[in-house]
């Protein structure tokens, strides 16, 4: 109801606004819901860091494009040895950091040695542990030696966690980031905004924008007003419940794309009664996926039946493995020795999709006698209780890492799934570089995980951006975290 009212008011405002003439701009103001705690993407996991700096301020050897494919970045070309253990990269010439120092193979070596060091605080250190040596051949050639083949190596070095930093400036990147990207960091008014400006001597194709300001607005209703009032030109992932205000408004466009976020009802497989397959199957039968998607994502989520992104070429549809069937669920519960159901807690992190999904699932489970107690938590508490100490029955969380099915091969992971078959498959998958073979292995893993009903597989989060209708070139999908401004421009 409130949305309708503000929409009516807003439309009146826009009629007025159209009478003002707008000059062709080369500046953009991007609304972001979270302010980064600091700006070094190699020393923290916060998405907010990558949103500002990834591919804008910092670049990696490879570059991930908006379809998730790997493109050349600071490395213009590379060759891979037969055994998949040696990668030789040719680096672009004439690249400089924003402080004027030159980029060469020594910086690459420094970057990766810093990630792998004893005292490294890289949030994704594990992704790079296959690297056994980085050798400088000449200033524009660098060779990586791996201890085992790694099918995702080229993707992983294109992530925000492996952007190239310089020994002269790396220590200060948290507050004064110095990279090689098309935009240089100018100013950060804490609590309010970060300003980037085009870097004149950029080695690659110049971006159309000369200045970009990230404005941090946490509240959804406030962001709506800021968009309507023209104080920000767009936001990359807006709350689904606010989208009706912008749908069909000619001043704006809503970009709906995919993310890598598999949202699951994480289940503590190591704990009774969830260690029983029948109990997990019963829960899977009791879940009405569409109801959850409609309630928690306003219909924008995509159903998943296993832990895999639907837009990925290796995906197979397993949503019908355990269809919604309450009788079947009760039957399985009886078989497992819980004819009257049981009680459990569902710990929910402070994100809207989790809180709403939690309420819907609790009412769905109640129909088969599973009584859920909902416990709302802050992030820090959730990370410690659920993730680090594994002190939970059920939780709801979106796993946003790309291609992260490997977490099911780690018996120490928080949901405690220990299946040697999956572990063996994952090892083979990691060591395989042949595409067709990889696809087959990945699909086999998806199927086993779905059949084991390891977790309740709910939906893939959508990315829903709202932008000024005259802006082009934004990423619609989010294959990695970031708001890449390289191709963004204004059109008449």
């Amino acid at each position: 109801m409130r949305v309708t009212k503000s929409f009516a008011l807003a439309s009146a405002g826009l009629l007025l606004a159209t009478s003002f003439a707008f000059a062709q701009s080369t500046e953009i103001r991007v609304g972001a819901p979270l302010e980064p705690p600091m700006l070094d993407p190699t020393a923290g996991a916060a998405e907010a860091i990558d949103v500002v700096v990834y591919q804008n301020v910092f670049e990696g050897l490879t570059r991930i494009d908006q379809t998730g494919a790997v493109q050349p970045g600071l490395a213009s070309a590379w060759t891979v040895s037969e055994d998949g253990l040696t990668y030789r990269f040719t680096l672009n010439d004439g690249v400089t950091f924003h402080d004027g120092t030159a980029f060469d193979a020594e910086d690459v070596k420094f970057t990766f040695e810093r990630i792998l060091a004893e005292d490294s605080v890289n949030a994704q250190k594990a992704l790079y542990e296959a690297i056994s040596a980085v050798t400088v051949i000449d200033p524009l050639t660098v060779e990586f030696t791996l201890s085992r083949p790694d099918g995702l190596f080229l993707f992983n070095i294109g992530r925000g966690d492996a952007v190239i930093v310089a020994p002269e400036s790396a220590a200060n990147n948290a507050t004064d980031p110095i990279g090689t990207g098309p935009f240089a960091f100018v100013q950060w008014d804490r609590g309010s905004r970060v300003i980037l400006e085009q870097y004149g001597p950029y080695w690659g194709e110049k971006p159309a924008l000369t200045k970009a300001t990230y404005v941090f607005i946490g509240d959804t209703a406030t962001m709506t007003n800021a968009l309507l009032a023209g104080d920000v030109d767009g936001t990359y992932n807006f709350a689904a419940e606010a989208l009706p205000v912008f749908d069909g408004n000619p001043q704006f466009k809503v970009l709906v794309g995919s993310t890598e976020g598999e949202t699951i009802l994480s289940t503590n497989n190591a704990k009774s009664p969830f260690d029983k397959l029948e109990v997990r199957q019963a829960m899977a039968h009791a879940i009405n996926r569409q109801e959850i998607i409609d309630g928690a994502t306003y219909g924008y989520g995509v159903p998943i039946g296993s832990h895999f992104a639907p837009h990925h070429p290796y995906y197979i549809d397993l949503t019908n493995t355990y269809p919604y069937d309450l009788d079947k669920a009760r039957e399985l519960l009886t078989e497992a020795g819980y004819p009257d159901g049981f009680s459990a807690t569902l710990k929910l992190p402070p994100v809207n999709y989790a809180r709403v999904s939690g309420q819907i699932i609790a009412s769905e489970f109640a129909k088969v006698g599973i009584k859920l107690e909902l416990v709302n938590m802050e992030w820090a508490q959730w990370l410690e209780d659920v993730f680090a100490n594994k002190d939970f029955d059920l939780t709801i969380i979106s796993h946003v890492e790309p291609f992260d099915i490997g977490i099911y091969a780690n018996p120490d992971y928080y949901f405690g799934y220990n299946n040697p078959e999956v572990q063996a498959l994952n090892e083979t998958l990691n060591a395989t570089t042949d595409e067709a073979k990889r696809k087959e292995l990945a699909q086999e893993m998806q199927t086993i995980i779905a059949k084991d009903a390891v977790n309740g597989f709910l939906f893939e989060l959508a990315q829903t951006g709202v932008w000024n209708a005259k802006l082009e070139g934004m990423w619609q999908n989010a294959p990695v975290e970031g708001v890449v401004l390289r191709n963004v421009h204004w059109v008449e």
Binding site: L16, R190, T222, N225, W379
Partner: protein, 316 residues
Amino acid sequence: MTLYILRRIFGFLVTLLIAAAVIFFLLDLLPGDPARFILGINATPEAVAALRLQMGLDDPAIVRFGNWLFGMLRGDFGLSQTQKLPVAGLIADRMAVTLPLTIFAMVISVVIGLPLGILAARHRGKIIDTGLMILAQTGVAIPNFWFGMLLTLLFAVTLRWLPPGGFTPWNEDAWASLRGLVLPSLALALPQAAILARVMRTALVDVSSQDFIRTARAKGMTFGEALWRHGVRNALLPVLTILGLQFAFLVAGTIIVENVFYLPGLGKLIYTAIMERDLVLVRSATIILVLVVSFTMLVVDLAYGFVDPRIRERRA
């Protein structure tokens, strides 16, 4: 008077020390590992351990408490764990928004609230009084953030006279900074003005039934004159108390309005720091707030003495 002041100051210092201990040890009990929070769910245990070491989280609590207290005595409030910057500077930056905002809101609420309260008391029981008090009751009941959203919709989205939020630093464009503070100060001031009006009216009504007002009337003053010359000053005590509380509330409690207008104020700084488990920042910022609040209360106490000679004489 001197003894009165000394006792107030001693109370002020004891409050600070107790607050410091409570803040420190309560925060220490908060679940959640700051290092784990920064590195997220894919971090290796070694990386988390390395960061804990870097952040000095592994020392015993009592050692960290001591370090903190002595640091503060030297004027060193520590380094924010997530932002890697001195806490004192971070807070000073936020004060450049929060203090002007608070002062504007206070001024607006006094300018609106007190005259309306006096007006209502003068016309006690009449239609003006009833009307004003209904208005004030509404003002108290309206949440300031909601009023803020309405202001934004009207003045920023529809009329486009003022920005919907955000803050331009003073040294960049002071005019833009001022414009940015208009709507939030109005949003903050309305409920405060309503409260002030009610308190002022009640206090004046109480005073007006006192003997000295009757005496003043007997000497030939009109009711309005008697109220103005003898009543208002006597009614100021409860108003001062409320003003002190309001100032403290505005400095520390503008977080929701700051969110509505995306202003980089102190409330938002502390809120974010709690979410990110930046304990150094939270406790230093909180103790500074305690300092501001206790100091305001000290000033109010001393002001009582000024307004009311009975207090300074009795307590001395």
